[in-house]
């Protein structure tokens, strides 16, 4: 039995710890890789210039996604605007929970797809979008729908799209840097003979290359851990709004037990949904290892956490 306020703050604390860990790791990786660059290219500023360049490239790639994520996702998924008359439950539940959370009502969209699922996107609460499939709206009752919409509204309230895009920029930076360092080795680089005997330089180079190979994977794993922690946080935020864990529990059960694949989803948008739309395949492998590569915690774990609040 956990108090809902405690659950929200515990999830916030854990999430902050992972993020701090992530930032430290990215800083270390960038430092070592750029040191290796400096050793390799033979001059110090080169390293820093490359870090800046990779940050800019990775930033530009994510900036577009950050500003237009709502439009891009909606275009890809082929969603239509929800109306009060046609989607009464969806519209009014979202309206009501926005009142409870003190947020402006997000734009609401519906995807014509019989697989039940929902997601939220947008860079801040003023530009937020909540999207639900027709399958979700048909299969869930009002209490369950409140749980799902509460989850999405909590994502919006916690600025999760913003956080995840900053994290993605950093992961991209590390990946680009590592990639370049490995490529530059293949290209041959410059003659090493004048640095013979500089043992520290060689060690730095080796450490840099190890980081170049490993850090993109490690950074991505931490990124996924952050994503999973934010899901738990959104779950407890949802209960904080509705005070009815049972609604979200049975909604999660319904969504995850539904075997129909979501046609509108693809790998790029999978992490946005309330339950991973590519389910079924990983169900037998609920081992800790395979969980490392998931954007969402296993539904069983989420239900267990929700039960403790009930």
């Amino acid at each position: 039995m956990i108090n809902i306020y405690e659950s929200v703050s515990a999830n916030k604390r854990k999430s902050a710890i992972i993020i701090v860990f992530f930032v430290i790791f990215v800083a270390l990786a960038i430092y070592f890789i750029s040191q290796a660059f400096a050793m390799y290219l033979g001059y110090q500023p080169g390293g820093l210039g490359i870090v800046g360049l990779s940050l800019i490239i990775s930033g530009l790639m994510s900036l577009v996604g950050y500003y237009y994520s709502d439009k891009i996702v909606l275009t890809i998924s082929g969603a239509r605007l929800a109306s009060r008359t046609k989607d009464f439950e969806f519209y009014t539940v979202a309206e009501n929970l926005s009142i409870a959370s003190g947020l402006p009502k997000p734009k609401l969209y519906v995807i014509e797809d019989s697989a039940p699922n929902a997601f939220a996107t947008g860079r801040d609460p003023e530009h937020a979008v909540i999207c639900a499939t027709t399958g979700l709206l048909q299969k869930l009752d009002r209490t369950e729908l409140e749980g799902v919409i509460g989850h999405e509204l909590s994502h919006i309230k916690n600025y999760d799209s913003r956080l995840m895009s900053v994290v993605a920029v950093l992961v991209g930076t590390v990946a680009l840097l590592g990639d370049w360092l490995i490529r530059i080795r293949w290209l041959g680089g410059r003659d090493n003979s004048d640095r013979e005997g500089n043992q520290l330089g060689v060690i730095m180079l080796i450490v840099g290359i190890i980081f170049a190979i490993l850090s993109p994977i490690v950074a991505q794993l931490i990124q996924l851990a952050i994503s999973r922690r934010r899901e738990f946080l959104a779950d407890s935020g949802s209960v904080n709004l509705t005070r009815q864990p049972s609604g979200l529990i049975s909604a999660l059960q319904k969504i995850s037990s539904d075997t129909e694949p979501l046609e509108a989803a693809n790998k790029a948008t999978a992490h946005l949904y309330i339950v991973n739309p590519f389910k079924g395949k990983t169900k037998s492998a609920v081992s800790t290892f395979s969980n490392l590569f998931n954007t969402h915690p296993p539904v069983e774990d989420r239900i267990k956490a929700l039960r403790q609040m009930a």
């Binding site: 306020y5 009464f88 439950e89 009014t92 309206e95 009501n96 929970l97 009142i99 409870a100 959370s101 003190g102 009002r142 904080n240 709004l241 005070r243």
Partner: protein
């Protein structure tokens, strides 16, 4: 030299913290006030909505005049609550509509043709929605006041609260004593449902 810098930075951090904590308290107060107004806003919506629902469903529920007189009564008490600007009265009025729902449901159960009618289903949906809206508007007042009151007494923000004399806010006023905080022996038994 470095010591002065450290002191300057520390001072800036402290000043920044004092400002942001102060802003939290005044900001919370403003938000709570807005949230109370939101309750009034939702009640106003409800009292505008009910006559319209009455008109559109009257034909279907001719022989159930009692429900309509109850609805009218509820509407009147909501209107007087809005006029009084009293948080507690608004809250009470809001819960009255919710208490009507079982009555309407009973009527529907006893008349199969009414149960099937789209108009009546719509009436139920709208009534539930409007009472939900008021419930959630109240929840915002409760949550915001809880945040404010917790911050007011927890260290270190309590120093700012006492320095600028931020008083504890009541939120939604609920009697501390009475039936709702007592559990009677018969209520502890698991209810048996006989069909």
């Amino acid at each position: 030299m470095t010591l002065t810098w450290i002191l300057v930075i520390a001072l800036v951090v402290v000043i920044f913290w004092v400002f942001s904590t102060y802003n939290f308290f005044v900001g919370s107060k403003a938000r709570i006030k807005a949230a109370v107004q939101e309750i009034g806003n939702q009640l106003k919506r409800q009292s505008d909505l009910i006559p319209n629902l009455e008109v559109s469903t009257k034909g279907y529920l001719k022989h159930e005049q009692e429900i309509f007189s109850k609805l009218t009564e509820v509407r009147k008490s909501i209107e007087s609550a809005i006029k009084s600007q009293d948080v507690q009265k608004m809250a009470d009025a809001g819960s009255k509509v919710a208490s009507l729902l079982p009555d309407i449901k009973l009527v529907m159960e006893s008349n199969p043709e009414i149960k099937g009618s789209e108009v009546v289903v719509k009436l139920m949906d709208e009534l539930r929605d409007t009472s939900d809206k008021i419930m959630y508007a109240r929840r915002l007042v409760i949550d915001l006041t809880a945040d404010y009151n917790v911050k007011r007494v927890s260290v270190p923000s309590s120093f700012i609260a006492s320095m600028f004399k931020f008083a504890e806010l009541p939120g939604l006023i609920t009697p501390q004593e009475g039936e709702h905080v007592e559990v009677k022996t018969e209520e502890t038994k698991t209810p048996k449902i006989s069909l």
